[in-house]
Symmetry: C2
């Protein structure tokens, strides 16, 4: 009975959900994040997070979709150009739905859209605000060491230069499912420990950075057939973990974190260090922080935002 067409095929009582708040939405991605409460007899106003996302078109069912549409309604027509609303049978136009239920306050906070602020971190700000903050946090990077020591994900390694100073491991990023090259995403993780980020780089690291650039591209063209001219190779500042790593993404892929306020092209980093070994120690670096990030509070307390 519960699998019958036209009825809810699961236990989650979506029709009994009352929407309390839109936590976040994206017109570009066609997604919306909802905070709702289940008001059915059993639900008692329990909180839920419901994420709705329209699904990508699939090439293999485009012809069926065009044939079986239920209505094509003209909106605008001008010379050879016209726009319509197209209506499809439900089964050809499903919506991906993710439910967190019951949801805690922490879940609601996690999905809530936050204001974002730009930080201009001088060299002095790094020493007095950011570095003490990093050192006060116990960010665990054991998972990185597990990869470097082959205790985890060893079968996923694409390439390795084993040199302890100038070597690295190249591995697919977890965001990439490897089913298509469109969103190719790999990470080079250096063997050397203690290089926290871009800020720590000096001319002594040029051999490491050049190895990553040259050998990383060679390994990717060899394994995946994507040439260096079709790759975006960059570091993040701030990074999401403080052990030096370099991102390789398909140039045609609008990868998250590739925007100018976070990404630094490896080729620019190499050029700047050749120009001045202390470039990244002294230089003002710009990055964005969300309102709920603890580092923002530190900059606010220091009167730097």
């Amino acid at each position: 009975e519960s699998r019958k067409e036209g009825t809810t095929a699961t236990g989650f009582p979506l029709a009994d959900l009352s929407v309390r708040k839109v936590l976040r939405e994206s017109a570009r991605d066609k997604t919306i994040f909802l905070h709702g409460q289940v008001n059915s007899a059993s639900g008692d106003g329990t909180d839920a997070v419901v994420i709705l996302e329209k699904t990508p078109f699939r090439e293999e069912n485009i012809s069926e979709l065009l044939k079986k549409h239920t209505k094509l309604q003209l909106q605008m027509s001008n010379d050879i150009y016209s726009t319509y609303h197209l209506y499809l049978p439900p089964e050809l136009n499903e919506i991906k739905t993710t439910v967190v239920y019951p949801a805690t306050e922490k879940h609601l906070q996690k999905y809530l859209r936050r204001e974002v602020y730009l930080i201009q971190e001088t060299g002095a700000d790094y020493e007095t605000i950011t570095l003490p903050f990093i050192e006060s946090q116990s960010f665990s990077i054991q998972w990185v060491y597990n990869i470097l020591e082959k205790k985890a994900e060893a079968d996923r390694i694409i390439y390795e230069n084993p040199d302890p100073t100038d070597g690295f491991v190249l591995i697919p990023d977890l965001k990439w499912d490897r089913k298509q090259l469109d969103d190719l995403y790999l990470i080079a993780i250096c063997h050397c420990r203690g290089i926290k980020s871009l800020r720590d780089l000096t001319a002594e690291h040029l051999p490491l950075l050049k190895n990553i650039s040259k050998e990383g591209k060679e390994a990717i063209v060899k394994r995946f057939g994507v040439s260096g001219a079709q790759l975006r190779v960059y570091l993040h500042y701030q990074p999401s973990y403080y052990h030096l790593h370099v991102h390789f993404t398909a140039l045609s892929y609008d990868a998250p974190g590739s925007s100018v306020e976070r990404a630094h092209l490896l080729s620019d980093v190499i050029d700047n260090l050749e120009l001045d070994s202390g470039y990244y120690r002294k230089r003002t670096l710009t990055f964005a922080l969300r309102a709920d990030e603890p580092l923002l509070k530190k900059f606010q307390e220091a009167g730097r935002v």
Copy 2:
């Protein structure tokens, strides 16, 4: 008759379209661009471009959408997390459809996805390849002069510093409809003529660049209430027209052209020119070119790609 539910409400025979090729698609944007041929009695295999785009969720009809769904099919369940396919009545889940019909070869080429290549342009490459190319093209920038001379769009100007050397005009970008601040996008166009791009900037332009940064942000907070800490302020290289201009976009908006291989933060440009007046004349600059762009051919002929 033609407006009846369940039938095609217009002249375009979508059900008779046979798909010849997917010209382009984006899983992130949920769009697909099709080259089709109309094979109805009247169509005779005439070419058409059909663009399908899933529509954003609208907050005002979310409750109705949840209530009226036809099916919720469980995909995966793990602890408090579960995912589903949600099916909706067609009228609550329309698809925006754009048709170019009849389409010429030029239309098909326009929408076809191209390979993208990264160029590493040295200072010498600029002098021997890019600059001669720019000078050989008759890019018209009369529309820019019309704005600066108040012959067009004068009522759209948000702010002006009228100084002929260090002044500029601030105007909303045409991509921004000004209906919401989420995708705020303005352009500062300098009054001074002859500064083609980032490549032409030296320390003598610092007063102009600092005016744009300071006064542009002040004008935006005054008019739109968006502070400088919530703005991404940058130049493009290559720019889309060769008269110096600066982009101001909302930091939370993932604006097209804000990725690291095209955008240069104005604050970085100012710092680099203060470090070295010749920075942008000498420096290798990285940018992407599509396979059909004439400048790519010039780099290929010079053996630089």
